[in-house]
């Protein structure tokens, strides 16, 4: 198995990249709801005190104020834990940002189950589902530091509302330097004829490791980092389905209404029928523990994902 290079948390890369960009562009503003610490934006506030707006613990006002700032020409990044941002302020996201077409960048930090043992109040397992049902907001969930850096650079130039979903775990570098990133264009890490993992965000890492384990054992496995849930890269998904016997989607989200649902709907409507497993957090009272422990419990781990792929391939062989 290859040795992946250890890297920083994506949230740190986000904050570092945004600081650099904001130093050159005074129209970039950070809007926070007492979240500059968790968003790793203390240094940003120290260096650019006139480009950070604090609203206190008030997510509805966070998004509404960001929409007003965007309406007046600011590049507003509204930053709050994903669990609060996309639930407490959902109506503001729907009306003030998406429906009003104000190009705010909503940054959901500590997303998914990043907060682990803090419990369900602090988990965001619904954000893809609710945002995908709201017109006019793109959804990006970077896998590694390279994707994150490029996503922040693209976000500054993005002319539509955008949701950027970030985790806080230290990541590993998945892409070689120089890899070109574009919102809406999935990145293939390896192509495989037996199974393709289609993963997003922090789950790309265990999917990649599962792929390595399978390849070592003679299974031709592939991995796609589907960093953009909307607009969905349908070409990349359909191409993966055409070249692979089976597909496994992986996401740090409810299995209802997220990446897996989108992939399944796409394949069915395209008439491409492949055995598919949607791996995510099932519809139940979420198992308690750290992010790693919850991942392991639900099979979002290198061994768990490799096993899911083997089981699916075996079932497909029997059916065939």
């Amino acid at each position: 198995m290859s040795q992946l290079q250890a890297a920083k948390p994506n949230q740190q890369i986000f904050a570092d990249t945004l600081l650099t960009l904001a130093q050159a562009d005074p129209s970039i503003l950070v809007v926070t709801s007492d979240s500059r610490g968790s968003g790793r934006l203390v240094e940003f506030g120290r260096q650019l005190p006139n480009q950070i707006v604090e609203v206190g613990i008030a997510e509805q006002n966070l998004v509404g104020v960001a929409a007003g700032l965007a309406a007046a020409g600011k590049r507003a990044f509204a930053i709050s834990p994903a669990c609060f941002l996309t639930a407490r302020a959902l109506e503001q996201i729907k009306n003030d940002v998406a429906y009003s077409n104000q190009p705010v960048v909503l940054v959901g930090i500590s997303a998914g189950i990043s907060y682990g043992a803090l419990g369900t109040t602090h988990h965001s397992l619904h954000d893809y589902a609710v945002l995908q049902a709201i017109h006019n907001i793109d959804i990006v969930s970077p896998a590694d530091n390279l994707e994150t850096r490029a996503a922040v650079e693209a976000a500054v130039r993005h002319t539509r509302p955008l949701y950027l979903r970030l985790g806080k775990k230290a990541m590993a570098d998945l892409h070689p330097p120089g890899t070109q990133f574009q919102i809406g264009k999935a990145l293939s890490l390896r192509e495989g004829s037996d199974v393709t993992f289609i993963a997003t965000g922090e789950t790309v890492l265990p999917a990649y490791q599962a792929m390595e384990e399978l390849v070592e054992n003679g299974v031709d496995a592939g991995v796609i980092s589907l960093h953009t849930l909307r607009p969905l890269d349908t070409e990349a998904i359909l191409a993966a389905a055409r070249r692979s016997q089976v597909l496994v989607t992986v996401e740090e989200h409810s299995v209802n209404g997220g990446l897996g649902s989108s992939v399944a709907a796409l394949l069915m409507q395209a008439g491409i029928y492949r055995p598919l497993r949607i791996v995510g957090i099932p519809d139940e009272y979420t198992y308690t523990g750290s992010q790693a422990q919850i991942f392991a419990h639900y099979g979002i781990s290198p061994s768990g994902l490799a096993q899911t792929a083997r089981t699916l391939l075996a079932a497909a062989a029997v059916t065939a």
């Binding site: 509805q60 006002n61 007003g68 700032l69 309406a71 007046a72």
Partner: protein, 284 residues
Amino acid sequence: MNNAELARKSIEYRRTILTIIKQAKAGHTGGSLSCIDILNVLYNAVLNVTPETAESPDRDRYVHSKGHSVEALYTVLADKGFFPRAELDTLCQAGSHFVGHPTRKVAGIEQNTGALGHGLSVAVGMALAAKLDGRSYRVYTTMGDGELTEGSIWEAAMSATHYKLDNLVVIIDRNTLQISGRTEEVMRLDPLAIRFGAFGFAVREVDGNDVAALADAFAQVPFAAGKPSLLLAHTIKGKGISFIEDKTDWHHHVPTDAEFAQALGELAASEQQWQARHVTIASS
């Protein structure tokens, strides 16, 4: 526009509001009639925005937080030339952008509203941007009184005073009625002036259906340096039509043919009274 001309405009606007609601068979009659004098004075005597300056970074901004009273806003924007008056005939028709709450698809509208409790936050953002950029424009928003029970209003109120937004002017259309009855019975709001004052607003009260009093109040903003201004505009829901005034049932009631004829008759009488007063003043 002087006060006499403003008073005449209010009569004309009330006629348009009733006409388009009657034609569309839909609309928020009571609330549009209660806030129309506020919008009249804003667009004819206060705001520095016209169709020609609608994209200017220095224009004053208006956010209609009580979005359901959209017929009042459409009426004034049509009169100011943001779009042809004939477009109002498409109100609530299939394929029309003139839906029952404001959207930016309609020229002159700054922000989509309609879900209550949103306008003040957006106005705070716009006013904050002016402060950050050193621009001199002001931001105005009208909130309904029933809307004030939304918690987001008070989040926004805190931030408006925290950032000392004296370029922000908040108007409350205080008609004391909401869809299910008296505001004070549904959920007590008073003492509103004290409540907003305690949050740090500079508060003034005015007869919100008196265009001269409104013009005078707007001429004095900011009411205090370093504080957002709050104009508590005491209004009558359904103002101007005797049988609609102060009636809960007229929140979104559409006039029958007989009611419409009677309403137009009352407005014609108001116009005659205006003529009489105007002629008297002119000849005295």
